[in-house]
């Protein structure tokens, strides 16, 4: 988190980027602190890569100001800033061997050959690929290339590293391993990582804060916890995690508990802070799929809905159950595999789901 009082490492102030009539990024405000791991997340075309490219100087903002270390960088060429990037394609130079790829940044800065050789070897060693120094990059595996790309970007010891979906070409096993490598590297170096991804698991696994973007607009900035538990709006609630989103009309509001008439019945939610609601107004509840209790019989408690099981989906030890609610809308619950042993799970079976009022997140302003 940026400290108050002095300027964070990177500041976006009202930054807009247009391509002809399309707005790729719209009035973005973002502050990234020293040593922070920030993930910018969204589906393709949301403006996340354009944001990164503006930071690297590969795109120029149409409006607004970008500052790095307190200095306006809008007009600086990519070569004039120290913002190395790990590319989606990795963009290793195919006509250079591994060591010369890593040396590239030092060579461009006019560092003499022995010094840059030593430094490159030190980084290859740190990335545990020193023995590959003389190989052609075409001979490397995906994971090895990844490490070369990291070494090449970090060899100039920058204060900030940009990563543009660097793992999109790796298989799932390798992604998990590289996440650990990256997270540790970032902690050890203490520098800022700005990581662009469409993958929620990558973002949540590594980032201190995530920035969720959609159609060029920042939808929410917060820790993974905040974004996951308290989505700022419907888009984030739908985009992040496995949430059940239920809209209704407020019928009652007292002592911090709001009651609403919804398509699934009368539901209650505990409201904190200033999210006061007046009866007759619309309201949207967000209930995390992992907060749902399931039972074969109605328990008669509040916040209980009747569902019909449609399918089960196994992801390791976690099972996602897909239901149809009484009004035909989809409903999801996530359980540990062992929690389901006592339930008779048959497709078409009727079940009751319930959740405590305190676990309901109320979307602000809807």
């Amino acid at each position: 988190m940026p400290e108050p009082g002095h300027e964070p490492l990177v500041v976006f102030e009202g930054v807009t980027r247009r391509f002809g009539d399309t707005v790729a990024v719209e009035r973005m405000d973002l502050a990234i602190g020293e040593g922070e791991f920030v993930a910018i997340m969204g589906s393709s075309g949301c403006g996340k890569t354009t944001t990164l490219r503006m930071l690297a100087g590969l795109e120029r903002p149409s409006e607004g100001e970008i500052r790095i270390e307190g200095r306006r960088v809008n007009e600086l060429s990519p070569a004039e800033r120290d913002t190395p990037m790990v590319w989606q394609t990795l963009a290793l130079f195919p006509f250079l061997d591994v060591r010369r790829n890593v040396e590239f940044g030092l060579r461009m800065r006019g560092i003499p050959a022995p010094a840059r050789r030593e430094k490159a070897m030190a980084w290859l060693d740190r990335m545990e690929i020193a023995e590959l120094a003389d190989r052609d990059v075409a001979q490397l595996s995906g994971g090895q290339r990844q490490r070369v790309a990291l070494a090449r970007a970090l060899v100039t010891e920058p204060r900030i590293l940009l990563l543009d979906e660097p793992m999109s070409a790796l298989d799932a096993n390798l992604v998990v391993r590289m996440q650990a490598v990256l997270a540790r590297l970032q902690r050890d170096l203490g520098i800022t990582f700005v990581y662009v991804t469409h993958s929620q698991s990558e973002a949540f696994a590594m980032a201190d804060r995530v920035v969720i973007m959609s159609r060029g607009v920042v939808e929410q900035i917060g820790t993974p916890q905040q974004v996951y538990r308290s989505p700022a709006n419907r888009f984030v609630a739908e985009f992040v995690g496995a949430n059940n989103i239920i809209s209704g009309i407020v019928t009652d509001y007292r002592e911090g508990v709001v009651t609403a008439e919804t398509a699934l019945g009368m539901l209650r939610a505990t409201v904190t802070g200033d999210v006061a609601r007046t009866p007759g107004g619309g309201i949207t509840f967000v209930v995390g799929a992992d907060r749902i209790a399931l039972s074969g019989q109605p328990a008669g408690a509040g916040n209980e809905v009747r569902l019909a099981l449609i399918s089960e989906e196994f992801i390791g030890s976690v099972v996602t159950l897909h239901f149809e609610a009484s009004d035909g809308s989809p409903f999801r619950a996530q359980k540990q595999q062992r929690e389901l042993d006592t339930l008779a799970l048959e497709v078409g079976a009727t079940m009751w789901a319930s959740w405590p009022a305190e676990d309901v997140h109320v979307l602000p302003g809807e």
Binding site: M85, A91, G105, A153
Partner: protein
């Protein structure tokens, strides 16, 4: 099964016939260049290097070869440079009128050579440049640049577009990135373009004939000898020209086919 085999044999035979048709005249010229008879008739006379000796001792032929060598070398370098610049601007920039620009750049080979030769002669004589060796070079550069551009453009199209940006990102200025990334990546295509344009220029007759004046190139002198009388020297010169051009073209072809690693 046997019908399939028959088809296979037929197709093989067809390929042989096509190649025979294309190469028979050249092969004949090659064979007759070593034949002692003055007229190309069968049966052959005895083996001789006489015709090679004759051209070897003919200062006109020497001069023509020297002219051709200078012209094709200069043409190759200039045309490849222009072709590279055109291909790179196409790769790198988007601008108004780009398709017109590309169309114009690729136009020269579609103009009939006689028209091109005439037009070149008209233009060059008006600006007082006709009948010199450099007038042939100028004309050939116009003719050859599109080939160079096409070859280099093909190579640039195989390049990961992030590669150049990655160089900037690592602190390279635009010129540094050109030298450290674009040139090494396109090097095979550049050499191929040099060979190809040299071969085209070395062979080219029509335009050279119009603008050369007294500075005759090899194709021009071949015609002159041919107009005088039937002389097996032609076969000897022709064989040398053919081998030179073929070598250049084959080298170019090999270089073009070295596949670029698209993502590495």
């Amino acid at each position: 099964m046997s019908a399939e085999r028959a088809t296979a044999w037929f197709l093989r035979g067809y390929v042989v016939v096509v190649f025979a048709f294309v190469f028979a005249p050249i092969a004949a010229s090659f064979v007759f260049s070593f034949n002692s008879d003055r007229f190309p008739t069968l049966p052959l006379g005895h083996f001789t290097l006489h015709w090679y000796e004759t051209i070897f001792n003919d200062p006109d032929v020497w001069e023509a070869f020297a002219n051709s060598a200078i012209v094709s070398a200069c043409t190759a370098v200039i045309a490849t440079f222009i072709g590279f610049c055109t291909a790179y601007t196409d790769y790198r920039f988007r601008f108004f009128g780009k398709s017109a620009y590309l169309g114009l750049a690729l136009l020269p080979p579609t103009i009939p050579l006689v028209i091109m030769g005439l037009a070149m002669l008209a233009l060059l004589s008006r600006i007082g440049m006709s009948g010199r060796l450099d007038s042939i070079i100028v004309a050939h550069v116009v003719l050859c640049s599109p080939f160079a551009m096409a070859v280099i453009r093909l190579r640039l199209a195989q390049m990961d577009p992030s590669l150049e940006a990655a160089a900037w990102n690592l602190g390279a200025s635009e010129w540094q990135a050109m030298g450290a990334v674009i040139l090494p990546f396109t090097a095979p295509a550049i050499v191929a373009a040099l060979c190809l344009t040299a071969a085209v220029s070395f062979d080219e007759f029509a335009v050279a004939w119009f603008v050369s004046g007294l500075n005759k190139t090899v194709p021009v002198i071949i015609l002159e000898i041919l107009q005088g009388n039937v002389d097996p020297q032609i076969n000897a010169i022709g064989s040398i020209v053919f081998i030179t051009s073929m070598t250049l073209v084959v080298v170019a072809q090999i270089l073009i086919m070295t596949k670029a690693p698209r993502r590495a």
